[in-house]
């Protein structure tokens, strides 16, 4: 073994070698026969080299990856379609809901109200009639409400009566 390798090996144990130098050591110990005292060291470097040859065994494995990656590529297009479909479905539901709600609101108003008179004179007469009816009803209601004043009067009379009694009582006590 030449002195250069011995020197590199010493540096190697001290972790002072570069990647290139370590490569050189691996190559040396894998290609050359070494003396008895370095047999184990050579074995170590042979072990490192042999570890490097371990590979994923199966072709099946690679195919599986390709199928998986490619299928996920196809899936991207499909995903885009689904995403668009989702948005479209959402918009559709919203439009349908608005339409139905509007219809319901229209239904709840009787149609007669919507249709009014086309002749302005006739419309004026009808309006007057309606207002007269309201005013008549108000008048009637006022009469009826007038009856309530009876209660007020009665209350006043009672209050007067009681205050008179109280005065008489207090006067009697004073006497």
């Amino acid at each position: 073994m030449d002195s250069k390798i011995q020197q590199l090996l010493d540096q190697y144990w001290k972790c002072e070698t570069s990647l290139e130098e370590e490569k050189e050591l691996r190559a040396y110990f894998n290609e050359n026969e070494v003396s008895e005292d370095l047999k184990e060291t050579a074995l170590l470097f042979k072990y490192f080299e042999s570890q490097k040859n371990i590979e994923t065994s199966s072709v099946v494995f690679e195919n599986k990856i390709k199928v998986n990656t490619i299928s996920s590529k196809r899936g991207k297009v499909r995903n885009m379609f689904f995403a668009t479909a989702k948005i479209a479905a959402g918009v559709l539901v919203l439009v349908a809901a608005t339409y139905l709600v509007r219809q319901e609101i229209r239904k709840s108003y009787p149609e007669e109200i919507v249709d009014t008179y086309s002749d302005p004179q006739l419309a004026f007469e009808e309006t007057k009639k309606a207002l007269m009816m309201i005013s008549k009803t108000f008048g009637k209601a006022k009469q009826e409400a007038g009856k309530i004043t009876i209660f007020n009067e009665a209350e006043q009379i009672i209050q007067k009566g009681t205050t008179k009694d109280d005065k008489e009582k207090t006067e009697k006590i004073k006497i």
Binding site: W13, L43, I54
Partner: protein
């Protein structure tokens, strides 16, 4: 990143990812599962990963994290099993190791396997895969100092044990 770039830049790293996962998990089936998961994750997230500079180191880191997730899940499972008194699966070399490593190599394999977790990872990344210190920092998510210390300790331990093997044939 398109399919071509994926096939040219990411797929060739699959054996490195596999070896790293195998080192961590000691089970080739699980390691293949992890690698597949990594590749699919990279493929699916390729649009948002344009800022990644070193893809390979990035994939290695993802491999490490996914492998650790699995180890944690296994630990939970195995403690559950222990509680109800089942035999817990022994850590034995995978068929890969058995087939490819000769008897004397197995001695070295055991030696490396006996190192603490971090040292085992560092020595694998450096001496088997040939990553630079900076890349190892990125992959293992620890600082430069820790990487250097771990590698130094790993190599010292290996050296010591090799000397013992040489002297006593242990």
């Amino acid at each position: 990143m398109d399919l071509e770039a994926f096939e040219n830049r990411i797929l060739p790293a699959k054996n490195k990812l596999f070896r790293f996962a195998l080192k961590l998990l000691n089970n080739s089936e699980e390691a293949e599962d992890v690698v597949q998961e990594v590749l699919i994750k990279v493929w699916n997230g390729r649009a948002s990963m344009n800022q990644v500079q070193n893809w390979e180191a990035w994939c290695m880191r993802l491999t490490k994290n996914l492998a650790f997730d699995r180890i944690r899940a296994q630990k939970r499972k195995s403690t559950d099993l222990m509680e109800i008194g089942f035999e817990v699966k022994q850590d034995e070399p995978s068929p890969h190791d058995k087939a490819e490593i000769t008897e004397s190599m197995q001695q070295v394999n055991r030696l490396i396997a006996s190192l603490p977790e971090k040292q085992r990872q560092v020595i694998h990344l450096r001496d088997v895969e040939g990553y630079s210190y900076n890349e190892i920092v990125e992959i293992m998510e620890i600082d430069m100092n820790q990487v250097k210390v771990s590698l130094f300790r790993a190599r010292s331990a290996v050296r010591e044990k090799l000397i013992k093997i040489n002297a006593y044939g242990l």
